[in-house]
Symmetry: C2
Subunit: 885 residues, 2 copies
Amino acid sequence: MKTGQHVFPFEQGDKSMKSLLGGKGANLAEMARIGLPVPPGFTVTTEACNQYLRQGGGLWPELKGEIIENLNLLEQQTSRNFGGEQPLLLSVRSGAVISMPGMMDTVLNLGLNEKATESLAVETGNRRFALDCYRRFIQMFGDVVLKVGHYSFENVLTEIRQRKKVKTDAELNEADLEQVVKDFLDLVHEETGNEFPTDPQEQLFFAIEAVFKSWNTDRAVVYRKANRIPDDLGTAVNVQAMVFGNLGADSGTGVAFTRDPSTGERKLYGEYLLNAQGEDVVAGIRTPKPLEGLKKDLPAVYSRFIEICDILENHYRDMQDIEFTIERGKLYMLQTRTGKRTTSAALRVAVDMVKEELITKQEAIKRIEPHQLEHLMHWRIDPDAKKDIIASGLPASPGAASGKVIFDADRAEETAQAGEKVLLVRPETTPDDISGIIAAEGVLTSRGGMTSHAAVVARGMGKPCVCGCDELKIELGKGRFYIAGVEYSEGEVLSIDGSTGQVILGETSLIEPQFSDEFHELLGWADEIRRLKVRANADNPEDSRLALEMGAQGIGLCRTEHMFMAAERVPVVQKMILSSELKEREAALDELLPMQQSDFKGILKEMVGKPVTIRLLDPPLHEFLPDRENLLVEVDRLQREGGDAEKLAFKEELLQKVRNLSEFNPMLGHRGCRLGLVYPEIYRMQVRAIFMAVFELLEEGFPPDQLKPEIMIPLVGHRGEMEMMKQLVDNEAAAVFKEQGRQLSYLVGTMIELPRACLVADQLAESASFFSFGTNDLTQTTLGYSRDDSEGKFLPFYLQQKILKENPFAEIDREGVGRLVEIAIEKGRLTRPDIKLGICGEHGGDPSSIEFFHAAGLEYVSCSPYRIPIARLAAARASLYQIEY
Amino acid sequence: MKTGQHVFPFEQGDKSMKSLLGGKGANLAEMARIGLPVPPGFTVTTEACNQYLRQGGGLWPELKGEIIENLNLLEQQTSRNFGGEQPLLLSVRSGAVISMPGMMDTVLNLGLNEKATESLAVETGNRRFALDCYRRFIQMFGDVVLKVGHYSFENVLTEIRQRKKVKTDAELNEADLEQVVKDFLDLVHEETGNEFPTDPQEQLFFAIEAVFKSWNTDRAVVYRKANRIPDDLGTAVNVQAMVFGNLGADSGTGVAFTRDPSTGERKLYGEYLLNAQGEDVVAGIRTPKPLEGLKKDLPAVYSRFIEICDILENHYRDMQDIEFTIERGKLYMLQTRTGKRTTSAALRVAVDMVKEELITKQEAIKRIEPHQLEHLMHWRIDPDAKKDIIASGLPASPGAASGKVIFDADRAEETAQAGEKVLLVRPETTPDDISGIIAAEGVLTSRGGMTSHAAVVARGMGKPCVCGCDELKIELGKGRFYIAGVEYSEGEVLSIDGSTGQVILGETSLIEPQFSDEFHELLGWADEIRRLKVRANADNPEDSRLALEMGAQGIGLCRTEHMFMAAERVPVVQKMILSSELKEREAALDELLPMQQSDFKGILKEMVGKPVTIRLLDPPLHEFLPDRENLLVEVDRLQREGGDAEKLAFKEELLQKVRNLSEFNPMLGHRGCRLGLVYPEIYRMQVRAIFMAVFELLEEGFPPDQLKPEIMIPLVGHRGEMEMMKQLVDNEAAAVFKEQGRQLSYLVGTMIELPRACLVADQLAESASFFSFGTNDLTQTTLGYSRDDSEGKFLPFYLQQKILKENPFAEIDREGVGRLVEIAIEKGRLTRPDIKLGICGEHGGDPSSIEFFHAAGLEYVSCSPYRIPIARLAAARASLYQIEY
């Protein structure tokens, strides 16, 4: 490579030179280098493009000189003459480093003018072919280089077809094409004010400049911004001798994948057309034939093609997407690149290639983006089913579901218990609706966004959810709703697709998620590689079982409040909360104890041998009470209408208590360990329930070292909180052990979810044996964002304005929240070098966040069961990429 | 000082040995050392006490030896014999390093038994006196050493007085006293089971042990805990030869302050009694005479006393509180210590002593605790006025006020405008009530605590406030309230004392706050010393003027939202908020522009020459809308009762908008710059109003370099927010400058009130010229405490349990919030070494927090006008103490 060299013949390049030659150019050079049949050509580099753009346009003499030099070389290689006898025709194609729509694509047959066309006619013995090439060239060049509207050319063709009463251009004869050429040249003159350039060299320079300029079209700029592609990459230009697939029955063109891109099966998959150019395939006038047909049509070409596909796959060590042309029985490769594929195919290809010893397990893991696995994890709508889509909202939690529309959590529960499928439909959901969400197949709301309560809870439970469906108007009190003006009644059956946001009328047939052998195999390899453990956020035995199936190594977050939400428990919980005396409250807690105990027993039994982190009660107590607004209206009505004085008195008192407990900012209110400190009897009951559950299991014969409760104190911010809570747990444990006459081992730790907790982590670690980062709340406090509010208000705007690169509730904010996590780790280890560290916020299931947690040195991440496979893969990739840095 | 020496004769000590000899002992030694007449004695050290307590009791032989040795010395010095002829009598007093109630105080006349009493009788020629000494000794020793109940002795005396038909003990004759002594000895035997100890040495050892043990009485332990006095200080014991003030008309006892402790005036202030012991003064049977009387009674003693007072003041360089006894014409000093005084007196003494060249200005400043100044800052209830106290609540904001009870903000405003004084009385207040609080003289609420909305806002405005008055039951709708079952109507006149929490029926006469010359003089010295500047939080010209009077050097926080709250503006603000289209909103903003402009003009004019930091709109928009609950009930009524369909439709729409804007956690919601980004037109209007105001002032002839607006962007957490907001301000500024044909200088900076802002302060400093720490919100987010909620719920419990040492909203949490402040300063200076740094949270007026901000290197603190003097003094003290560290 010469200094300042801006043009490279294919022989001088290779696949490592992508950033200089673009993807297409580098691969053409590579194919030429390894001896595959590639029509000769050269590439003008991305650096030339950048220099061109920097200096504000104009090809400079040195660059022109280099191009002409390479053109001469090309004439020698092909024994043809650019613009002369046996004319050399060129294709000119853009080729960016990262493939990008919106840029100039291709000009074919460049180099033709009247004289060259006649030479071509003589040479091929086919004047119609030559004229057709010429009119195609004028049309493409006129369109993409001279910016004469595409439709103007089409109008000319339409007119002549109508005049000649034919349907396709192929039916036009020589004379017709002569007329077309003339009309095209006139059209260009008329629209641009200039004659169509007849000097081939001038044509080439024009085309190269056009490619350069196309880097900065509006569409290209927008696309780069949206996809965060740097603006200074530039595009290369590939100039290549034309080969013709339309020179008769022994010519043709086609595309192929070396494996099936939808299943990954190892068999060639592609199509071809004889006597056609690439654009004919695209135009869709003739239907291409499956690739196997070529075996019969042109056996020698077919077997050579098979051979080349093998070479390419072995060479590139990945499934290839190939374009080829056959000119009079000779095969030419026009492009090869890594083939796009479905997630299933990607898994199969990767696993197969490991078995074929083409790639290593590590490479296989790097080839699957963790996010891709999401597609496999959910029920889907049968793609072949008929769908009556009546509205659409935000795709808030993936998967599909059908069910009877129910507006109310209690009725949703009843209906589900009666064996019917339910879709919970509400303007928005609140913690009051949890039992309804649990009972429902899916959730549909008219308000709220991707991080609304409904969305967050549904994602946590792996239930499909469509949110913020504006077209849906619900009249809760009247039992009806409207979509696009049409009235429906509660009880109507709808389906939702939480992956697309579609709302569908009636029941739809669904496809169950299925996991292939390759899926399990690849994740098995990931397990060998990763250092981070993966636990599950699960609150009941069913979820625990699911989590185990997904590969969980324990439970990282068991939220005990969800256990309080079941319909039959709510009255007891409310009794407990509304107690004005300790005795009364303790009596209610005594009722709750066996319920909690049986919950814990179920979970611990599923997780025998694995650690189970149980978080003591966290939400503010008012979340368990009746809705304040409903109560207010009820009281007002009773007051005004008179009548049942006793009921009024009761409701007034209830309202008063709801008011006393209600908070301006419940997120920052009386919750977490603040509850445990003020109402220690609640936490004592929970601790007792945990240990009693363990003793029950011991009696059933489970070995004590296989039951590993880790008791987690939420929302700790001060040393004293942790000390007092640790003491409470230890005291209650000691009491139970004494009653049972036997000691158990257990851990007490804390959730780290406040900035202050991070800053004084050294103090907390004095009494906490583990930290589990609650990154949901830590994000809320560090950024000052209420998760329940921000989505509908400023978050979408922030993302759109790029103030935020990502939703911080989905991907961890490394500079803010991440920095606090690092501080906490460092400080925690100062006091307790072996402190156990994990994370149980929703970020535990996000690949980018997992990369961060791996680097930060955590022991485990915990996420909802359906994200465990993603986390396993992401953790493995984090290990692999970290080693390479 | 010998190694292991545990007993020091007065001659060996001095005032620097307080921690070893206790306060009293060190001062006795000091007085002896400088030649003042102190009865000889010795001190058993605090170390002896600690060793005694460590080893669980028992005086050890070496210690006993030292005591006996010193006793022998004392016999020589006094030429008296302990327990013999011319008996040596002792006083034994405790003397801790920090004076502490709850510990054993004093035993007098120790050393008496039957034999010594008779010797004393012979020596003094006054057997009645000797017997009286003996019975006093038995009584005191019995009470404080032997723990025989005080009342048992009193009963004996009462009985004999009744029998003898006399009123006082002084009327008992020799025989009576002989009987009393006998009865006392029997009583001790009866109650303790032992004979009263007659061996003087034994008496002394008993007494010393009793003092040691009293260090750990329950009361003493509780007191130390409450006052954070370390438990390992221990107490010393002072053993001193008795002198007698009750040996006739040339004997006496008294106390004196070297200056007037209530005004600080430089004149001796004290009282004395002739022929009396100290306890007689305390008992209050005889009325002591003003000290001047001594001049006539005992002129030589008097002039000697004057002389000694001068010596002591000059020696200690502070006002002294002195105890003395005169024994047969000879003056003895029994104690001297720094005298307690009122705030006014403290100021006067300090300033006078500087003028007398007794102390330096620096010392004067160290002598005034900043908190003391609070007492001077408020209207007080005339202490001589009659008060009918009918209830009491929390003293939430100091000062006193009287006014008509009004339940509603709007009516409060109307009533005040009609010229009547108003007391806003509500169950609790919300931001809706701001205009009412502004209009009212003071605020009284039945709910909420020291950090409730009412309390915080009232403190900010310097209005008196009593919160959480449980006894007050308000029936808002019925225009009446109840206190202790008595019904009152709205309109009743009440008074409140926000310094004590008292609620008083009717109007009360009030005393205006007045600032003495000394107040101004001392603060002037503070201004010379302090490095920290002090600015004010002020939102209108009146407050600005007040702030200047208080010594503000600028405005650190002008909250523009308070300007939106005035009654005539609220409709325009609501129109702006409820606009569904930009045009509509801009029209409403056009109406607001001249109002804001005139607000800013007024403030900037007051503050000419000083910087004014104006914060752009901060609170969520729903704070300006009608109350959601009221609206809900109204809509429900209209819906059920039918009737005015148009009104219903309007209210329904309004409710819908209120609902759309309402938030689960408004503190973490759509506020601050999040508003400015989504509705840039609001901020643009405000910026325009600021600069237009400056141009108006320029036209009035004010010089441009004297008008210094600093525009502050609230709630920034991300670099992009600051960049975009800076751009908005600069653009609008440029537009106004272009219209006006003239440039102005200004600053743009941000409030730092989110943990994330601290962690990325380097990024924010790229576009922010200043940081002002909003420590209120930073405390809320760092600790995860909602200020509006935590007070009534867990905060009092946390303080009581010592999980929190201080209310973090009053005194900055150094480990959490403070650490973030330090991080932000460090990072901000990385990018912009000369970045302007201040703090405008309420902590800006708290002395301990100011000390922290000084050390952290801020340029200024900003606080409410009434706290400025406190801040000025605290800042000076921070400078002084930092230098000394």
